[in-house]
Each structure stands twice: as C-alpha cells, then as structure tokens.
C-alpha cells in the first residue's frame, strides 16, 4: 500500500466519498430513529411485565447473534420488508440496534434506588407520574448509553448493507475487496471509522450532561 496513491485517490474521488458518507449517515440515522422509537417505549412497557420481558429481550438477543451478512441475506426473500435496497438494510440495522436500546432502557428504569421509588409511591404519585417524572429522567443517562452503543454498531454494520445494494461506504469496501485495491477499501473504512468516533464522542458528551449522581 502506498500512502501517496491512497491520498491522491481520496482527493480525486472526494465527491463520491462525501456522497457515500452522506448515504451511510442517512441509513444510520433512519435506522436509529426507528430503533429508538421501538426500543425505548418497549423497554418502558416490559418493566412491569416479566413474561413479555423475557420474550422481548430474548428475541432482541437472537437478532444480535445472527451474523450481519446472513441477516441481510435472510431478509431479501421476505415480502414487504425484504428485497434489494435501502429498505431491507434499514430493517436489518433496526434489528441489530434494538438490543442495546431495549436492554439499557429496561436496566435504567429498574436500576433506580428503591427508597426513591418508595417515597414517590408514598407521596401519592400515580404510576404514570412515577414513570415520567422519576424513573425516566433518572434512567436517561443509561438509556443514552444504550443508544450510543447501538449507533456505533449500526455505523459498522451499515457497511455490509452495500452487499444488498443499499449503498453507503460499504460500496467502496466491497469494490476494493473485489479489485484487491487498498485505496478503495480505505475510502470506505476510514470515513466509517471517523463517523463512529464522532458519534461516540458527541453522544458521550450528551450522556455525561444528563447523568444524575
């Protein structure tokens, strides 16, 4: 590998790299928003329901054990959500992101000092008031830690989405592997790594801000 040629490759193809990075980011953001909108309410819902909790956490864990390339493959033949392209990729990414969000929401909501919850109940707060004014604000930092983990996973896994035609930075990586070109692989890998680091840093800042000691 010659750093000089890689650098000039980057300069020559900067528009394509920026475009693919934006595609990648779009894929991640859409998948994360859906995963948050499913994972957080579901996590709140399973706090009081042990039977459903086992099923939800179990299912989310199973999705995470399926190798990502295989998961994308499994989804292709499924009607409505499957097929080739972005939609299928987003479904797979959501399934991956769900476990950390769901688990941290549950852990955050249940890991609260029992004395605080006892006081809340004894003061005549309703269940909804306890959930939204006590449990949720106190769990927020833990929930956000789950979202942070899920975002980093999703940025990485989204590179594989290119295998089913969803675009993004993975396109360079797959092409680079096929053509045995380090420059092409790096054109996908470096921006993906930078995105992950940036997301980790920004969400980490937010998490520290929300932490209640």
């Amino acid at each position: 590998m010659n750093p000089q040629t890689t650098w000039s490759f980057f300069i020559d193809h900067r528009d394509e790299i920026v475009g693919a990075t934006l595609d990648h980011l779009t894929l991640v953001i859409i998948a994360m928003l859906i995963a948050i909108f499913i994972g957080v309410p579901l996590g709140m819902f399973i706090v009081q329901r042990p039977a459903l909790r086992a099923i939800a956490l179990g299912a989310a864990s199973i999705f995470q054990t399926i190798p990502s390339l295989a998961l994308f493959g499994f989804l292709i033949p499924i009607p409505f959500i499957g097929g080739i392209g972005k939609r299928t990729a987003i479904v797979a990414l959501v399934l991956y992101a769900l476990l950390p969000i769901l688990r941290n929401t549950y852990v955050g909501l249940t890991g609260i000092d029992p004395a605080v919850l006892e006081a809340a109940e004894a003061m005549g707060m309703t269940r909804a008031q306890i959930l939204f004014r006590v449990r949720f604000p106190l769990a927020l930092a833990v929930i956000l830690a789950g979202i942070r983990t899920a975002t980093i996973i999703t940025i990485g896994v989204a590179t594989i989405a290119a295998a089913i035609g969803a675009g993004g930075l993975g396109t360079f990586i797959f092409r680079g592997v096929a053509l045995v070109s380090d420059s092409l692989i790096l054109a996908g890998a470096i921006p993906a790594a930078l995105l992950a680091l940036l997301a980790d840093f920004l969400l980490g800042l937010l998490e520290r801000k929300l932490k209640v000691s």
Partner: protein, 260 residues
C-alpha cells in the same frame, strides 16, 4: 368513598383484627391479629426489632399494603376503599434514607406534593421556604442545591420538610434518623420532638431505638414477631414486666469497660 383527607375530620387511624401475609407459597405472616387505635394528635412510636412488622404496619396505613385479614381505617374509612392516591397525598411519609429525588433540587423535592395538588408556583415557593425554615434550613442557601450536595442530616431535614409540605394531617416516619451519626441523630431528635408538639398532627414513628421512642412518643407500642406485646406511655413502659420490654430496657444500660 372518601375523596380527600381533610384536616377537619378526626385523623384517627384504627386497626381492626389486621393480619398480613406475604403472598407467596410460604404465606409467611408478617403481622397477625393487630388491633390498635391511634387517636387524633397522638405521637405513636412503633418499637420492635428488625423484622417485627413495624414497617409493614406503617405501609398498611397509607395503603401501600392492604391487609389480608381485618381492616385498617383512616378517618373512619377502610384503606381498601380509599383512592390510594388521595389517601397518600394526605399522609406525609419520611423514610430512613430520605428517598429524595436526586434529579430534583431541594425546592423541587419539597414542593412536589403541593405541585401535584395543583398549587400555583408562587404559593408553592412560599410554602417551600416556610417548610425549609421549619426544619432549620436557610432557603436561600439550600433551595437550589441537589440532594447530593447535602449532608445526611440535611437530607433528612429536607425529607421531613417534603413530607410536611402539603400540610398532611397524618405523618408516618420509618426510622427517619436511623442512618445518621449519633450526634446528628440526637440533634434532629431534639428539634423534631419540639416540632411535633407544635404541629398537632397524628404521627406514627417507627424505630428500634428505645431511647428515641422514649423521647418522642406519647405512647409506645412494642411489636414482637408481628404481634403487639405491649402498649404504654413512655413513663409506664419502662416498668412493664414483659421479657421483650426487658430486652429493650437492658439495651439502654451501659457498664463502661464491662468486657475489657
């Protein structure tokens, strides 16, 4: 059904043949056959060892637990027919670790029940200041702090202020000074006993400390294994001839260097 605890009605609490067991396969009895009348304005201390059922009795009074047998009456209405939210809004509750909300400031903690009750902001703010003053904290210095910025004794003072904020006619306290160092504890006990005399509320106070019971109580009820074994005014309590009473009174005497 009662809709609100009123200050005008008699704030009597009455246990009629109350038993409570944990709802598991063992059906362990925590409280058995308790009958007890707590008249308006009394400061009743429930004394007993750990696991004697003191806290359970307290939770039976504000409907956090419902009796498996018998009934608990608050203002002549059974706790099982009270709306639990309304019942609890009229009963102040203080626990050992104060249970302050860590994400709220002192002012928000103290003002919680008034704000739940729909008081406007200025009335709540005035009340918060009044309550902090009552428990010996300067509002300007403490109102905007978070619980983590307070000492154990200060947290407990805020806990008392919070319980009193909506002026509930009944106050339940579960070993409120139990986690404090002995010097701070004695300080708070003295201040609280003076406060209690001024407030004229019905107070039920749980402790395993006989010294505390003697200081605060107008009547001491001794529990052993979920049953009431003695009930007397503090002066008479020490003279009672019951093995569990003697066990407690002997805990008061210290012979310096006895085991040296």
């Amino acid at each position: 059904m009662n809709t609100k605890i009123s200050a005008a009605a008699t704030n009597r609490i009455e246990f009629r043949g109350v038993s409570f067991h944990i709802n598991d396969i063992l059906k362990r009895l925590i409280v058995s056959g308790v009958s007890l009348e707590i008249p308006h304005g009394e400061t009743l201390v429930l004394l007993g060892r750990s696991g004697s059922g003191k806290t359970t009795l307290l939770k039976l009074m504000n409907g956090m637990l419902l009796p498996t047998k018998g009934e608990v009456l608050v203002q002549d209405c059974s706790t099982s027919s009270w709306d639990p939210i309304r019942l609890r809004r009229g009963i102040g509750y203080v626990i050992q670790d104060a249970g302050l909300f860590p994400h709220f400031t002192v002012a928000e903690n103290v003002g919680l029940v008034p704000s739940l009750e729909g008081w406007d902001a200025s009335r709540t703010a005035a009340r918060v200041e009044e309550m902090l003053h009552l428990v010996g904290l300067d509002a300007r210095e403490f109102a905007h702090r978070h619980p983590r910025e307070l000492s154990g004794g200060q947290r407990q003072r805020v806990g008392v202020a919070r319980a009193l904020a909506a002026d509930p006619p009944i106050l339940l306290m579960d070993e409120p000074f139990g986690a404090l160092d002995p010097v701070t504890r004695a300080e708070l006990q003295r201040e609280f006993s003076a406060l209690v005399r001024r407030l004229g509320k019905t107070i039920v106070f749980v402790t395993h400390d006989l010294r505390e019971a003697l200081l605060l109580a107008s009547r001491i009820v001794l529990l052993e294994a979920g049953r009431i074994v003695a009930s007397a005014a503090p002066q008479e309590f020490l003279r009672l001839d019951h093995p569990e009473v003697r066990a407690f009174t002997s805990s008061l005497t210290v012979t310096p260097g006895a085991f040296a």
